[in-house]
Subunit: 479 residues, 2 copies
């Protein structure tokens, strides 16, 4: 029941303890007493030392907002309504605070969808394929296809040659892309760098595919020398390759052109399928000069991007674009359906396409270009300020992900919602991360840091292995 | 590019044509002219005869709301804002109409989440496992776990013995349940009745599992005689069984007790895993007397239910509950993560749990019980009225899905958003389907029907094969 397991959410934490609720929450005040017939969750003490053990059950059960059976007279007394309103008001306050102090996850929290509030009353569901209407009339396919057209044009695939849909998140896009690859090459081996998102490895396991992990360079990019060696050992089977357009931790962009060249020059011409995981930077790269261009004019099979990241959206979503010919391969095998069933999910959130449509329409390609430039500028600002302060830091050329030494104090990490892995932390500079916010973060970091390291019994960690010696400012590597 | 494919959305349509937009939409009026550089979608004529061909590309592309690059002076002229507001206002009007005329899909469209409108401004994301906190603070795990506790209690699994999460839809629940089954019995064969939801067969294909389709009775329930015969031919491999708690088309409830008995008496004791697909009735059955009880006190492995169906929710969602011990099996194998990665999706919609929490808290078990009773009463009312009018009709004892002859006119089918398969159509009586709405539907049906069949050159279809001779009122079977 109680296992020594880590954090399943972002693959980014190594040593953290169970995270307490933000202070605004005092569930004891508002959670009604537990009904006596229910048993306690699994045991274990919160915050007991530095152990990595995550305690299942009790942790979240003690802080959750239990659902209480209404009393017969609830409607008369109004107590129920008052209780719920109080929970929601407190929750909202905490959301405001948590939204303000947020730097680690690549979510653009800066959006105003007030105009769409009127649509929340409808149960909007784009069941199944976006291009095939269902009898269920409360859908938003008109918006969804508008959004898909926009992305297909961004990645240079003709309207009559693409297929795609709006997914629930980056993971669904990856699951779909890898599945299409497997259906095109049922015997293919999946190649993915060790810095790929964990959903790629999850896909391999779900789909019972053989998967080879490829080494990375210090930047986080796929190491094509090792990739070539792996290919040469498996000449007889086709290759399904995940290419990262922005890795989760270091924001590294795999060199798509080099990956294609490696495949073609080593006997894999017409025997490979490339899925581009652009969850993070898929929408930024097209606007960065010198970035390897993601385009269907190159022999790639699919691209996915998250909608709640750079665009910004109240709920997770994503866009998946692939070649229509691949979907025909996929659907032709679905005998049991006598129909095209090409999405992973059946019922699909119809609100997400409208949010995306709204933002894309307002900003346009030009608007995104401006925002990308701002993010890259601000990321450089953060990197320069950290470097000036003598803090180990790395920023990949094409990236807005600033990687630096993990702050000593977990409370500080939580306060700023930094994503950490081992000894490194990162800030992803999204459009809502302004210079003001960065300054306030930097000032706090420097103030705290002078306390952490003042006594000299601990010193900043060496992170040369993560970001290269030239970027490390630890006692050993600083010059 | 253009294939002879059917409708991928609900597995329910056999002969329909491409569906035009509801009349309120005249996209020509508001869609800006297409930029000249874009090509037309794939060809094909809408509404060309009775063929089942669904035309990909053009159909939705001509009606979609294209995203237009803003002009440089858009902010000054305000044209952009006006265009968008006009699209949204028209869309909203159509949603109101489509929501009013809706009978075929099991969605409760009757909800008022006005109190939650304030939360739409936040990007709420419950990344990964509900029981393990992430550093991303803008989440709603407190609500999610409250909802999960409620369902675990409904299905009689102790707090410290269950694991679950809020999914994006019924399909995700099924994908998860079947995956857990496969991980528990990697060599298992999947058994599912032919009336199972298509996501079950999709899972088998995704997961590379052998899947045997089991026959059904006329009611739509799994035929345990055939099930037994299939088992006996595969004694050497464990069984993973999908049990339908409400089939999609006929609303049939598989006899869980008989399925378990069949397994145990034929040498499969401790060698089977049962997933209960309760997408539709998972939340209704507990409140129906005489219904086979879905409970973890029986040897079942997982139960899933949809949240947007009986509960009602603006976007699709679902609840998945399984035994914690199975998740430990699942996670222990995830070496690459050094962490628990037990959900299918990574980023997860944090709004859905709050909607569910809100409704469950307001209604409670008692509230749902009342609504279930009302639905069953209204379903019987509809069935009786159809029968009185001499129309072939079937209503399973435990069900609120009324199956009857498919209306002759596709326009009428679309107007009422009926779900059809072959010669049958169905209405699923949800809490928002009142006697008034049924009366208005019945009156319209009878009026139209007298036109369709007045000349006598066509007559109502025989649907004895679908619903049994005793329920069929065709010329041959009526007495």
């Amino acid at each position: 029941m109680v296992g020594s397991v880590g954090n399943g959410s972002m693959d980014l934490r190594e040593k953290e303890k169970v995270e307490p609720l933000p202070r605004e929450f005092d569930p004891e005040e508002i959670v009604p007493p537990k009904p006596p017939l229910e048993t306690e969750g699994a045991g274990g003490e919160e915050g007991s030392g530095k152990s990595r053990e995550i305690v299942l059950g009790r942790n979240v059960h003690t802080m959750c907002f239990a659902i209480k059976e209404p009393e017969a007279d609830d409607e008369v007394t109004g107590e129920r309504e008052a209780y719920m309103a109080s929970v929601l008001a407190r929750y909202r306050r905490s959301l405001i605070d948590r939204t303000k102090h947020h730097l680690g996850y690549p979510y653009n929290l800066d959006f105003d969808y007030g105009a769409l509030g009127q649509l929340q009353h409808f149960s909007i569901n784009n069941l199944g394929d976006p291009f095939i209407e269902s009898n269920y009339g409360v859908h938003s396919r008109q918006f969804e296809v508008g959004v898909l057209d926009w992305f297909a044009r961004l990645w240079e695939l003709e309207k009559n040659e693409y297929w795609g849909y709006i997914t629930n998140c980056g993971t669904e896009g990856n699951l779909h892309g890898i599945l299409v690859g497997r259906e095109v090459f049922p015997d293919g081996i999946l190649y993915a760098s060790g810095e790929s998102h964990y959903s790629i490895f999850k896909a391999a396991r779900m789909y019972r595919m053989e998967c080879l992990k490829v080494d990375t360079l210090a930047s986080g990019e796929i190491d094509c020398t090792h990739f070539k060696a792996s290919l040469l050992q498996n000449m007889e089977r086709p290759a399904i390759v995940n290419v990262n357009i922005g890795t989760t931790v270091k924001g590294a962009v795999d060199d798509l052109d080099l990956v294609i060249k490696t495949l073609e020059e080593n006997g894999f011409k017409d025997r490979f399928y490339i899925h581009c995981d652009g969850a993070l930077f898929g929408l930024m790269m097209p606007f960065v000069k010198r970035a390897p261009k993601v385009t269907f004019k190159k022999p790639i099979g699919s691209v996915s991007v998250s909608g709640h990241k750079f665009v910004g959206c109240p709920m997770p979503c994503g866009v998946q674009i692939t070649r229509l010919q691949h979907i025909n391969v996929l659907s032709s095998n679905v005998e049991y359906l006598a129909s095209r069933d090409a999405t992973i999910m059946g019922s699909r959130n119809g609100h997400a396409p409208i949010f995306l449509w709204y933002t894309l329409n307002r900003k346009g390609y030009r608007g995104f270009q401006k925002e990308v430039q701002k993010c890259l500028r601000n990321a450089h600002y953060l990197k320069d300020r950290l470097k000036e302060a003598g803090i180990s830091v790395m920023l990949n050329e094409l990236s807005s992900t600033v990687v630096f030494e993990r702050p000593e104090d977990e409370e500080f990490v939580r306060q700023w919602q930094l994503a950490c892995e081992g000894n490194i932390a990162h800030v992803v500079v999204m459009p809502n991360v302004t210079i003001d916010k960065l300054d306030s973060f930097l000032n706090e970091l420097l103030r705290h840091r002078s306390c952490w390291y003042q006594k000299g019994n601990i010193s900043p960690p060496c992170i040369a292995a993560d970001i290269g010696e030239e970027n490390c400012c630890c006692a050993l590597h600083k010059r």
